[in-house]
């Protein structure tokens, strides 16, 4: 278990492009919105939450596409799925690492992103909490799509087509949590919902991902 964790961490740490590229895309998208979007501060506060979640979703799609690709191509994945005692544990760890490099990182960067998007200061804590609760669902459900599309050379669009409709609730509750905070209305319900969706994703995600990888590995 410890060895597994170390291996997954090293894979993540040594593959900097996989962490940095989505992050660069994230900031680029924020900049594009800031330039192309409304200029008035009050309108920005209204749209900021939605833009934040949309950008997080799209960044995740980029990162998820690469989640299993390298290991699929060089055969490691096959060894893991066939050889490990509990393949779903390895896969859960891998998804966890993907979450660290996107969801968790974005959560930590949220104060900065909120500032750039023109969200008022008192929203920052809520935005971080909402991202921390909701982003695991993106990684966990997204991994299922990544597992099913890893066999195709251009799986990216299909990945989005399969996964984004399922992530609509995360977008709705995440955006609504931030918007309620901007308007000064209580938002406990939205935060509970985000946690609930992540829990559901945690119960089905790793198993469905393992099943998806088994299918994709037979395609090789």
């Amino acid at each position: 278990m410890g060895g597994l964790l170390r291996r997954e961490w090293q894979v993540l740490a040594r593959n900097r492009a996989q962490v940095i590229n989505p992050l660069a895309f994230l900031f680029l998208a924020v900049m594009l919105f800031a330039v192309g979007g409304p200029l008035e501060d009050n309108t920005r506060a209204q749209y900021g939450g939605a833009v934040l979640w949309l950008i997080v979703l799209l960044t995740n799609m980029l990162s998820l596409d690469a989640l299993f690709r390298r290991d699929y191509d060089n055969g490691v994945l096959e060894q893991v799925v066939c050889g490990a005692d509990v393949p779903f544990l390895v896969i859960l760890l891998r998804i966890g690492m993907q979450w660290l490099s996107t969801g968790a990182l974005v959560t930590l960067l949220a104060p900065f992103l909120c500032l750039l998007l023109g969200l008022p200061g008192h929203v920052t804590a809520t935005a971080m909490l909402a991202l921390a609760l909701g982003s695991p669902a993106i990684s966990l459900l997204g991994a299922v799509g990544a597992a099913l599309t890893v066999g195709f050379s251009r799986g990216g669009i299909l990945l989005g087509l399969l996964v984004l409709p399922l992530l609509l609730p995360v977008l709705i509750f995440g955006t609504s949590a931030i918007n309620q905070e901007v308007a000064g209305i209580t938002n406990n319900a939205q935060l509970y919902w985000l946690g609930f969706i992540s829990m559901v994703a945690l119960t089905i995600g790793p198993f469905a991902t393992t099943a998806g990888l088994r299918i994709s590995l037979q395609m090789q």
């Binding site: 599309t149 399969l162 099943a211």
Partner: protein, 252 residues
Amino acid sequence: MSFTSSIKTLWHKLGSPRWFYQMSGPWVIGFGIAALVLLGVGAVWALGFAPPDYQQGNSFRIMYVHVPAAMVAQSIYMSMGVAGLVLFVWRMKLADVAIAACLPLGMVLTALALFSGGVWGKPTWGTWWEWDGRTVSTLVLLFLFIGIYALREAIEDAGLKARASALVAMIGTINIPIIKYSVEWWHTLHQPASFTLTEKPAMPPEMYLPLLVMVLGMYAFAGHNIISRMRNQILVRESRTHWVREAMATGG
């Protein structure tokens, strides 16, 4: 033979495409006739005899296409989820035949529900499209259908195609309630009570009986369409077997 053992026998028989093909001939005809009669009677009743709505006039008659299409489309997705489970647990070939047969009709009916909704929305809401809760959940349904369709197109191997689409159909089915409730909640947050027209006034029987007939007719049509497609699929997939050649030779 006890009840449970006869259910078991039926279950095992269902696993055989041949048995299904030989049994389902009359079902296609039965569903076809039921669909013709119900849709015919329902359409004449709904368009000619049901009283006009006191607020919407005659435009409410779009409901008689819109509601059956939306209801049957949702049921088709749910049946795909069930078929996916059956495929995953029992590896039943017939379940994949069912998923393949459900997809086109489900897509078309969802698109019909969205289109007729737009046509209905223009005279009543004053807009072709409104990001209302139900509209969005139907649109998501369309995307779920398209996603599975695209996935099936992308995979060549028949067995893997079946398992991949079954997996997505199952996950989609688990997610559908969450999507539905979240979207409806989102809608109520943003659109407080501006669509009172969509809240149907308690309909009198002269209005909802034709609707009931249309809904039943649409289900019969779906049964007819899906079973015919399944029969064709079975013939294509089993085309090398002896019984298919025999059946084709005798014209049955």
